[in-house]
C-alpha cells in the first residue's frame, strides 16, 4: 500500500510532484467527485465537465511541484479546474446555468474583510445580505469571491464587458458592507 494514502493532501501532492502515480490516484479519489459536482453547477454540458476534470488532473500531475504549500490543496485544485472549464468555454456561447461562476485558487485570492465574510457564507446574516443583492450582482460576487476568478476572467465566463464586471463588483461589495456593518460590526 502506498504510504501516501494516509497523508495530508499537501503530502500527497508532494509525492505527485516526485512522479508518484499512485499518489495522483489518491488525489483523484479524494477530489474528483466534489470537483465534478461543482463543475456541473457551472455547465450543463457533461462532456465539458469530463474534459475539464481530465485536464485538471493532467495539470496537477505536471504542476504539482509548483504548489507552494500555502492554502488548501482543494482550493488550488478548484482554481485549476475552473480555469480548465473556462478555457473550454472560449469562443463558445456559455452553456452556463443560473449560477455562473468560477474560482481560481491558483493565485490565492487576497481576501478583504467582506470577502472573508462571504466565504463564511454558510449562515443567516451573510445569506440574508446576499439574498438582497440583485441577480446580476450575485453572479459577479460568486464568480469573483466564491470562485476566486479575476474580474477579467469573470467577465469572460459571464460573457460581460470587463468594466461591467468591475462596476457590478464594486456595487455588490458596497451594498454588502452597508448591510453587514450594522449587524456584525464588520468593516471600519
Amino acid at each position: 500500500m502506498s504510504t501516501s494514502e494516509d497523508g495530508t493532501d499537501a503530502e500527497v501532492l508532494r509525492a505527485v510532484g516526485e512522479g508518484d502515480e499512485a499518489a495522483l490516484r489518491v488525489l483523484f479519489d479524494r477530489h474528483a467527485a466534489w470537483i465534478t459536482l461543482r463543475l456541473r453547477r457551472r455547465t450543463t454540458n457533461e462532456e465539458l465537465v469530463s474534459d475539464a476534470l481530465q485536464d485538471t488532473f493532467v495539470a496537477v500531475w505536471r504542476n504539482a511541484s509548483r504548489f507552494r504549500g500555502e492554502g488548501d490543496v482543494g482550493a488550488w485544485m478548484w482554481g485549476i479546474a475552473i480555469r480548465q472549464l473556462l478555457q473550454r468555454f472560449r469562443g463558445k456561447r456559455l452553456p452556463v446555468p443560473v449560477g455562473a461562476e468560477l474560482i481560481s485558487a491558483t493565485a490565492q485570492v487576497v481576501q478583504s474583510a467582506e470577502d472573508e465574510l462571504l466565504v463564511a457564507v454558510e449562515h443567516g446574516d451573510v445569506g440574508t445580505a446576499m439574498r438582497s443583492l440583485s441577480p446580476e450582482l450575485r453572479t459577479v460576487i460568486k464568480a469573483t469571491v466564491i470562485d476566486g476568478l479575476t474580474t477579467r476572467e469573470a467577465a469572460r465566463l459571464l460573457d460581460l464587458p470587463h468594466g461591467t464586471v468591475k462596476s457590478r463588483l464594486r456595487a455588490a461589495k458596497s451594498q454588502l458592507r452597508e448591510q453587514l456593518i450594522p449587524i456584525q460590526g464588520w468593516g471600519r
Binding site: 459536482l37 481530465q54 474560482i103 449562515h123 445569506g127
Partner: protein
C-alpha cells in the same frame, strides 16, 4: 443562526446540490465550504457515478504516460499548431540539430561576408541559399530515426517532410535574412536569396526521395557552388536580377510538382 464551525454539507444537502436544487446563496455556501473541508469532499463521492470518473482517470493515465512536448512546441501548439503535428516534430529529437546547423551556417555566412568585404557578395550568394538546405539536411540525418515512423504514422510522407522542412526553415530563413540586413554592403541581397534558397530546398526535397540526406546535400551544394563559380566575379548577378528570380520561381514550381508526383507514387509508403 448557524456558526461557521461544525457546519458540514450533510447527505441531504449534497443530494440537493448535485440535483441543482439549492438556492443561490446556499449553493455558494457549499462551494465556499468544500474547498477547505476534506470531510465534506469525501461525502461528495456518494453523489457521483464512479463509472464516468474511471473513464476520466483512464484518460488522465494516457496523458501522464506521454512524454511532454518540448517547450517551444508547446508554445506552437498554444498558438494553433495541431498537436499531432507537434508530436511528429517532437518525435524527431533531431529538431535541435537543424536549428543549430541553421544558426551556425548563418553565422558563418555573416562572418565570411562581414570580414572579407571584397568577396562578400560571392560568399553571401554562395552560402545564404544553402543555409536552409543545410538546416533541412540536418532534419533528415542519414540515420533517420523518423524512418520507422514513416511506415506507422497516419501522416503522409510528404506531410512529414514539409513539416520538418518548415521547422528547419523557421530558424534558417529569419537568421539569414537578419545577416543580410545587418552586414554592411549586403542590403541589396538581403531578400534576393530567398527564392533561390526556396528553390534549392525544394530541389533537395525531391532528391531526398531517391537519396539519403548526405548525398543530397552534397549534390545540391556542389551544384550551387558550380553555378556561383561559373557566374564569376559579379556573383550577385546570379540572384539579383528579375530574370534570374523568374527562373528560380519557375524551377521551384517545377520541383514542387515533381515532389508531389514523387511522394504520391505507389513506390513510397504512406503517400497521401
Amino acid at each position: 443562526m448557524m456558526t461557521s464551525t461544525g457546519w458540514h454539507v450533510g447527505p441531504k444537502l449534497w443530494a440537493r446540490y448535485a440535483a441543482g436544487g439549492l438556492d443561490y446563496v446556499t449553493e455558494s455556501a457549499v462551494d465556499a465550504h468544500v474547498v477547505g473541508c476534506a470531510e465534506c469532499r469525501q461525502a461528495a463521492r456518494s453523489y457521483v457515478d464512479p463509472a464516468p470518473l474511471e473513464q476520466v482517470w483512464a484518460a488522465v493515465g494516457t496523458e501522464t504516460a506521454r512524454p511532454r512536448l518540448p517547450f517551444v512546441l508547446r508554445g506552437l501548439v498554444r498558438i494553433g499548431l495541431p498537436e499531432r503535428h507537434a508530436v511528429v516534430l517532437g518525435g524527431s529529437s533531431g529538431l535541435h540539430r537543424p536549428w543549430v546547423v541553421a544558426v551556425a551556417s548563418a553565422l558563418l555566412c555573416a562572418l565570411l561576408s562581414g570580414f572579407l568585404p571584397e568577396y562578400q557578395d560571392r560568399f553571401f550568394v554562395l552560402l545564404a541559399p544553402l543555409v536552409p538546405v543545410l538546416a533541412v539536411a540536418a532534419a533528415y540525418d542519414a540515420t533517420d530515426p523518423m524512418r520507422e515512423l514513416f511506415t506507422t504514422t497516419a501522416h503522409s510522407k510528404l506531410g512529414i517532410a514539409l513539416l520538418r522542412t518548415a521547422a528547419a526553415l523557421s530558424a534558417a530563413v529569419p537568421l539569414t535574412t537578419v545577416v543580410g540586413l545587418l552586414v554592411p554592403g549586403l542590403e541589396s541581397l538581403a531578400f534576393a536569396w530567398l527564392v533561390p534558397g526556396l528553390c534549392l530546398t525544394v530541389t533537395m526535397l525531391v532528391l531526398l526521395t531517391w537519396w539519403d540526406a548526405a548525398t543530397t546535400t552534397g549534390v545540391v551544394a556542389t551544384g550551387w557552388a558550380c553555378a556561383v563559380g561559373i557566374t564569376g566575379r559579379d556573383a550577385s548577378a546570379l540572384i539579383d536580377t528579375a530574370r534570374m528570380q523568374g527562373i528560380f520561381v519557375a524551377v521551384t514550381l517545377a520541383m514542387a510538382c515533381l515532389l508531389v508526383l514523387r511522394t504520391a507514387s505507389t513506390r513510397l509508403r504512406g503517400g497521401f
